[in-house]
């Protein structure tokens, strides 16, 4: 190693001299100590917001879809925008955990656990929306294929059914992957705790893990295999979500570019979400040593890269619409940026294409305020991208006589804000109660670099 020139040498993934015990002490003790008052303040606020959101959902379910802004022709409104948005946010976890794992990007080790948690919580938020947006929200189970007394079966031709399968599979596998990664760390929590109750719970959750070599051998193999399987899902789920639109015949939806375009968009918003989460987590929880500026820099590079891909996708989409000479497609794309809601399309382009260009500057990639601004912009921009695609396409259909306008109601806003509350509440509970860094994955890094350092010193 030391023979490599400095520029090619892998930088250490931890900052400062930390021992393995330091890591345990730092990360795993979090769940054993009482959190600071600020945590309680934060969780009260977010759970209050979540509660307001859930009450709004209750109100909407008891009164009808009409309490939201949906109308003819904008039959799909905020709920589906939010659904696609949250599914997108939930994409970074898998990409970081799985694809970077397969590419042996070791820097992902410190951030994978929390990124996976973001995935799981975002999916919980996402899955709420299709269920509540249907006209008769008390029967979403009719979308599932199970033998029933109605003698009815679902129609597999419907993209919504593909969607149900894709989302459930992805959610299930994400939880499985996340939980599987937690097992060794839960076992070490079990070992550390002095409370009998906690020991029993951690013991149960860690499946009697003792960490002998055979366990590790099989565990790592299984982990890798699961990672391989999950890779396909990371690409498939948003492809299939995109087919809800691409398989329709509506101008603005009926585009072959949609599957890759949606996957990239999802990863883009996911990485932006992860940047925001880590920007706060690493400072408030004093984890700068493990989640270093280098990690943030790399995440920001991903954001920048994906922004460029998105920009390309937008250009291609517009070009295809123009090149098709199809009056309907041409109109709808012009309408995104010149129509009565031009600001939605323009905001999308500014936030997703222009703003992230700041990240070309290393200084910006390493400045917390700058990266949070960009990431927040991207998150907003990606929400508006879905708003543009969904609502601005629906409100200008084939027959001009059917055109309408969409005005969201306070119920729409309440449910959207509430879903953010649910997400943050779950995240805060996770940060308090679970090992937020995969200690078993980071420890080899510490050992590795300490060895390196020792060699150099010697």
């Amino acid at each position: 190693m030391s023979s490599l020139p400095e520029s090619l040498r892998e930088k250490p993934l931890v900052e400062g001299r930390v021992s393995l015990a330091d890591l345990d002490e730092h990360v795993q003790s979090l769940s054993e100590t009482n959190p600071p008052r600020s945590w309680y303040v934060a969780v009260s606020i977010t759970s209050l917001v979540a509660l307001v959101g859930l009450s709004t959902v209750g109100y909407m379910v008891s009164h009808g879809i009409g309490t939201m802004g949906n109308n003819e022709p904008v039959v799909w409104g905020f709920p589906i925008v939010n659904f696609v948005f949250w599914v997108g946010i939930g994409h970074a976890g898998t990409l970081i955990s799985v694809i970077l794992l397969l590419y042996r990007q070791r820097w992902r080790n410190a951030i994978s656990r929390t990124a996976e948690a973001v995935t799981v919580f975002a999916f919980i938020c996402a899955m709420m929306f299709p269920a509540i947006h249907i006209g008769r929200p008390w029967m979403p189970h009719w979308l599932l294929p199970y033998p029933n007394s109605r003698g009815m079966w679902i129609d597999f031709r419907s993209p919504l059914i593909w969607d149900v399968f894709a989302v459930f599979t992805y959610f299930g596998v994400s939880i499985l992957f996340w939980y599987m990664g937690l097992i060794p760390d839960l076992a070490s929590l079990r070992g550390r705790t002095k409370s009998k109750v906690k020991r029993a719970v951690y013991g149960l959750l860690s499946w009697g893990w003792v960490g002998d070599a055979r366990h590790w051998l099989q565990y790592e193999k299984a982990y890798l295999i699961l990672a391989g399987l999950t890779t396909t899902l990371a690409l498939s789920v948003h492809s299939i979500v995109s087919m809800d639109f691409a398989a329709s015949i509506l101008p603005g939806w009926h585009m072959t570019i949609f599957p890759p375009y949606f996957v990239v968009g999802a990863a883009f918003s996911g990485f932006a979400g992860v940047v925001i989460v880590f920007a706060f987590v690493r400072t408030t929880m004093k984890l700068e040593g493990y989640i270093t500026m280098r990690h943030m820099d790399l995440l920001n590079k991903m954001v920048l890269f994906l922004s460029c891909v998105m920009t390309y996708a937008y250009i291609m989409e517009g070009f295809t619409a123009w090149y098709s000479s199809n009056v309907f497609d041409r109109y709808i794309f012009a309408n995104y940026v010149f129509g009565d809601q031009w600001w939605a399309g323009c905001l999308t382009i500014f936030c997703n294409c222009v703003l992230p260009q700041l990240l070309w500057f290393p200084k910006m990639r390493r400045s917390v305020p700058a990266m949070v601004t960009v990431a927040a912009g991207v998150t907003l921009g990606m929400w508006f991208e879905r708003y543009t695609i969904l609502i601005l396409s629906l409100h200008r259909g084939y027959l001009p006589a059917t055109w309408g306008t969409f005005r969201p109601t306070i119920v729409d806003a309440g449910i959207l804000v509430g879903s953010i509350g649910i997400f943050l509440t779950l995240l805060l509970l996770f940060l308090k109660n679970m090992p937020i860094i995969a200690a078993w994955e980071v420890k080899p890094d510490i050992v590795h670099y300490q060895k390196d350092a020792e060699v150099e010193h010697a």
């Binding site: 879809i65 009409g66 109308n71 129609d155 031709r157 419907s158 006589a401 055109w403 309408g404």
Partner: protein, 974 residues
């Protein structure tokens, strides 16, 4: 928060405690109630012990009857199920209406089951028995008779012999009776003009089907005018060529507002209303000078000298070429032409139109007065103002208002109300609580016409009968019975029972002497048919008095375009305001402006710029010292220098309150044209009142979705193969069963009258959503009349396109439904299974025609008792959260199939007519079996004008549209 959701809480009605006994009784009742829905006697549902011979549960009965509106007596056929009237169509036996009726007559089902109907007599605001109420009124009348004090009786136009007889009987016992007939939205000008011009007040019947050239001056002949239904039928007949080169009629419209008729015009000239008379005189001069047509006696060429076409055209902003083209066409068509001046126009315009008709010899051919009946004089606004003064002076001992609402509809409503209070006894015979009944001492509820016996004199050779379909829903009496009750109380022996009285009079006066059939047979046949044709001597054709025309010409010659003009006309939907409580009509979009739940001020683009106003800005319209505030609508095609507003809004009531503003205050109290004002000022108030519109975009955006062709284009484009060949598909070719249902819609015949929309609403239990929901774009109409403006916004070409579910063979809505609620039947119907639907709405997102509708709330739970009686038991009432759409009236299809099966014969073409097709006065909608190559629909589907909307999407619609033909004088590309 969304205001639309009041009263829509599905969960708010807590279930009553459910005992076992109650549960069992409900279970038993539910079987019976499936077809009867909820009736007022829902607690005592028992089987018939003696079944009425003609009522079979599950089988509809149809009864002929007659409905009066203004001066028109519509012959209608009412469909009843288990004794409940549920649907109204035209009476096939009626020689004038021929199976068609107006959208307003159809909506009378809602009028019958109106929750706001008066349910019992009231005296001084407190409920009273009939005996007491009648006695109180009779006593007051007796006192008036004794003291020889005058008594006022205000009624609508009386065209019913039964009603006339009752009023005459009252007059005999009450010498001081002053009967005034008044229609607030009808102009008395026409009758006065006819009297001056022809010496007879009778109005002719327009035989539009005979006219090759129509010259209409501010005359909405196909829309809001009285004779619209037969006019549409007649017009359509001349507009449905089956091959290029067939003759087409040509319609010239000179008008200020963009009327329904104007939208169909081949040449439309937007001019202010006062231009009508000079322009018509200019055409007459051209006819005389250029085409050598003789002037009637008493009128010299000199009288027409001031009307040089080029000068008149220039003065009034019209295209002189249109005038000479019109003159040429009229001269060529001779008596096969028709000139009509709108009812709001002053006498000069009627004189000018009459002159054209007389010169062309159209009188007696396209204008037929041989059997016309004079409905008698109608009070003008000036006379109503005089009446108000008399009332204020306390001249009358009593005032009786019989189904009329002057406290709302006179121009000074507050003044009238105050004047009314000076009369000791105010009696109201009314159907609903209204502005007048609230001021009356005795409120006597009358039967709805579907609960009444009467007869109407449609023409001297045609009597029409009105028969009740249902026992009175409430404690009401027929108006004639109430009046005759007073007569009886005042000591004259009369038959008060309306049926007995009617039969007695018919036996006496109508039953022809020497008839072979007994009177009972004669009567039964007349009641069955609803009409009775009689022999009557034809009146000699009307002769125009040239001298009267000459004096009118002088007046017209002096006219100059001045300030802003205001035209007022009865609303297309709520008419003079009597239907303002009817949800079906309030929610029906205006056929041109697509505004529902209110009226508006129609302003031209140029004027709007001058006023600094745009859509939804509230403008104050001031004229003659009165002012009304109305939201502005910038209407393409509205003539600059003139604005338009519809009467009939601004009523008080559960449904009507808050919908629009009354423009009756702007009606002039004097002059010969009270509905046409000049010297109007319009200014912004700074307020905004966004209009509720069912359609927001009227441009075509270069989309080939509706076809407007000239005859030349027709010849060029007829049957280009890409219009009819189906696109290649990867799907299996569908295999149809015995039938494959399809539809053809001839846009050339369709005038966009919206009759189909009301018919559909009535037939298919389509919910009314209310103004807040409609403003959010949640109308439930299964069939729409889309309107597109093409070309110059100042005077656009207008295309109507009836849009409904196209029952696509490759329906985009079907494969996207995750729960298979949208499926295809083997006879080609795209079926929606409401029970299966969970409301994901993908079908709606994927329907390129926007044909699907969604129940955003539980719209039916807010229905006020007894409106649920109007439901068609053959059609599911849709719950909250499901998608719905047109089914081609599948219940009618199955019914027709069943009848054919019962009769052991194959289905015949025309056996099945969906509600829209049955209602269409133009016969523009044709339904039938596409598998039968000889069916009408198959032949039309092969028409060389045929095209499918959005055919390029490969949806394979079952609806073929036939291109609309415009027939301009000068061929140019539209």
């Amino acid at each position: 928060m969304d205001e639309g959701m009041k009263d829509q809480d599905a969960s708010s009605s807590a279930p009553e405690s459910m005992s076992r006994r109650r549960f069992l009784s409900l279970m038993a009742a539910s079987a019976a109630a499936t077809s009867a829905c909820a009736s007022p006697d829902r607690d005592t549902i028992v089987p018939y012990t003696k079944k009425p011979s003609d009522v079979v549960p599950g089988v509809a009965n149809h009864y002929a009857s007659t409905y009066q509106e203004g001066l028109v007596a519509y012959g209608v056929l009412v469909k009843a199920r288990e004794g409940r009237p549920i649907h109204i169509e035209g009476n096939d036996e009626h020689p004038i209406f021929a199976g068609k009726t107006s959208h307003r007559a159809q909506a009378e089902i809602m009028g019958l089951y109106d929750a706001e109907r008066l349910r019992e007599p009231r005296l001084g605001g407190a409920p009273a028995s009939w005996e007491k109420a009648q006695a109180a009124v009779a006593a007051a009348l007796e006192k008036a008779a004794r003291e020889r004090k005058p008594v006022l009786l205000l009624t609508p136009a009386v065209i019913s012999p039964a009603r006339r007889a009752a009023i005459a009987a009252l007059g005999r016992v009450l010498p001081g009776l002053r009967h005034v007939a008044w229609e607030p939205a009808l102009s008395a000008t026409e009758r006065a003009a006819a009297e001056a011009l022809y010496g007879t007040p009778v109005a002719p019947r327009y035989r539009v089907e005979r006219a090759k050239v129509l010259a209409l001056f501010e005359a909405d002949l196909l829309g809001s005018m009285d004779a619209a239904v037969p006019a549409v039928a007649g017009y359509a007949r001349g507009r449905m060529p089956s091959r290029p080169g067939e003759p087409l009629s040509r319609l010239y419209a000179f008008e200020s507002r963009l009327s329904l008729t104007g939208t169909k015009a081949d040449a439309r000239v937007p001019v202010r209303p006062s231009a009508a008379a000079p322009l018509a005189f200019a055409v007459a001069r051209l006819l005389h000078e250029r085409h050598g047509l003789a002037l009637p006696a008493g009128l010299s060429a000199g009288d027409l000298a001031p009307f040089r076409a080029d000068r008149v055209a220039k003065r009034w902003g019209a295209d002189p070429a249109v005038l000479s083209a019109l003159a040429r066409d009229l001269a060529r068509a001779g008596r096969e032409s028709l000139a009509v001046a709108g009812p709001s126009l002053p006498e000069e315009a009627h004189a000018a139109a009459g002159l054209l008709n007389a010169m062309l010899g159209a009188e007696g051919y396209t204008l037929e007065a041989a059997h016309s009946v004079d409905p008698g004089p109608l009070a003008s606004p000036a006379e109503m103002a005089r009446l108000a003064r008399e009332l204020a002076e306390g001249k009358y001992a009593a005032a009786v208002f019989w189904e009329t609402n002057p406290s709302y509809a006179v121009s000074d409503a507050d003044g009238f109300g105050a004047a009314l209070d000076k009369t000791p006894l105010k009696v109201c015979l009314g159907l609903r609580e209204d502005e007048t009944s609230r001021r009356c001492d005795a409120v006597l509820p009358v039967n709805h016409w579907l609960e009444s016996w009467s007869d109407y004199e449609a023409s001297t050779d045609l009597l029409a009968l009105q028969q009740p379909l249902i026992q009175p829903l409430y404690d009401t009496k027929q108006g004639e019975e109430i009046i005759l009750g007073w007569v009886k109380a005042l000591g004259a022996p009369v038959e008060t029972d309306p049926r007995a009285g009617l039969m007695a009079r018919w036996r006496r006066e109508v039953y022809p002497v020497g008839t072979l059939a007994s009177f009972d047979e004669f009567w039964t046949a007349a009641v069955h048919d609803g009409v009775l044709r009689r022999d009557a001597a034809a009146r000699a054709p009307r002769r125009l008095r040239g001298s009267a025309v000459a004096s009118s010409a002088k007046k017209a010659a002096a006219a100059r375009p001045g300030g802003l003009e205001l035209l007022l006309e009865p609303d297309y939907k709520v008419w003079d305001g009597r239907y303002a409580g009817n949800g079906w009509l309030q929610e029906l979009p205006d056929p041109v402006a697509k505004v529902c739940w209110g009226n508006f001020l129609s302003v031209s683009g140029a004027d709007a710029k001058t006023f600094g106003l745009s859509d939804g800005d509230v403008a104050a319209v001031k004229v003659g010292g009165r002012s009304v505030e109305l939201p502005v609508l910038v209407q393409p095609g509205q003539a600059a220098g003139a604005v338009f507003a519809a009467l009939g809004y601004g009523r008080q009531g559960d449904v009507a309150s808050g919908c629009g503003a009354s423009v009756y205050p702007l009606v002039a109290d004097d002059g010969s044209a009270p509905f046409l004002r000049s010297g109007v000022s319009v200014s912004g108030t700074g307020a905004r009142r966004p209009l509720v519109r069912s359609q927001q975009e009227f441009g075509l955006h270069d989309r080939d979705i509706v076809r407007l062709w000239t005859p030349g284009e027709y010849a060029r484009r007829a049957k280009t193969p890409e219009d009819t060949e189906e696109l290649a598909t990867l799907n299996d070719e569908p295999r149809w069963g015995e039938h494959k249902w399809g539809m053809a819609i001839d846009l050339s015949a369709c005038v966009g009258c919206a009759g189909c929309q009301v018919a559909c609403q009535s037939e298919n239990n389509v919910a009314v959503v209310g103004p807040e929901q409609a403003a959010r774009g949640r109308n439930m109409h299964w069939i729409r009349n889309d309107v597109y403006f093409v070309g110059d916004p100042a005077n656009p070409q207008v295309a109507h396109e009836v849009m409904l579910c196209q029952q696509c063979d490759d329906a985009p809505c079907e494969p996207v439904c995750p729960v298979a609620a949208s499926v295809h039947s083997e006879d080609g119907l795209n079926e929606q299974v409401y029970n299966r639907c969970i409301g994901v709405r993908y079908c709606e997102a994927n329907c390129p025609y926007g044909a699907r509708r969604f129940n955003f709330f539980d719209y039916t739970s807010s229905i006020q008792d007894p409106a649920e009686l109007a439901f068609n038991p053959e059609v599911s009432v849709r719950p909250r959260g499901v998608a719905e759409k047109c089914t081609f009236c599948v219940q009618r299809i199955r019914n027709g199939e069943q009848i054919a099966k019962d009769e052991g014969r194959p289905l015949r073409d025309g056996d099945i007519r969906p509600a829209c097709a049955a209602a269409c006065p133009a016969e523009a909608i044709v339904f039938g079996d596409l598998k039968d190559p000889n069916s009408r629909v198959s032949r039309l589907a092969r028409s060389d004008r045929g095209y499918k909307v959005l055919r390029e999407l490969g949806t394979r619609p079952a609806v073929t549209y036939l291109a609309e033909l415009k027939n301009p004088a000068e061929e140019k590309t539209i």
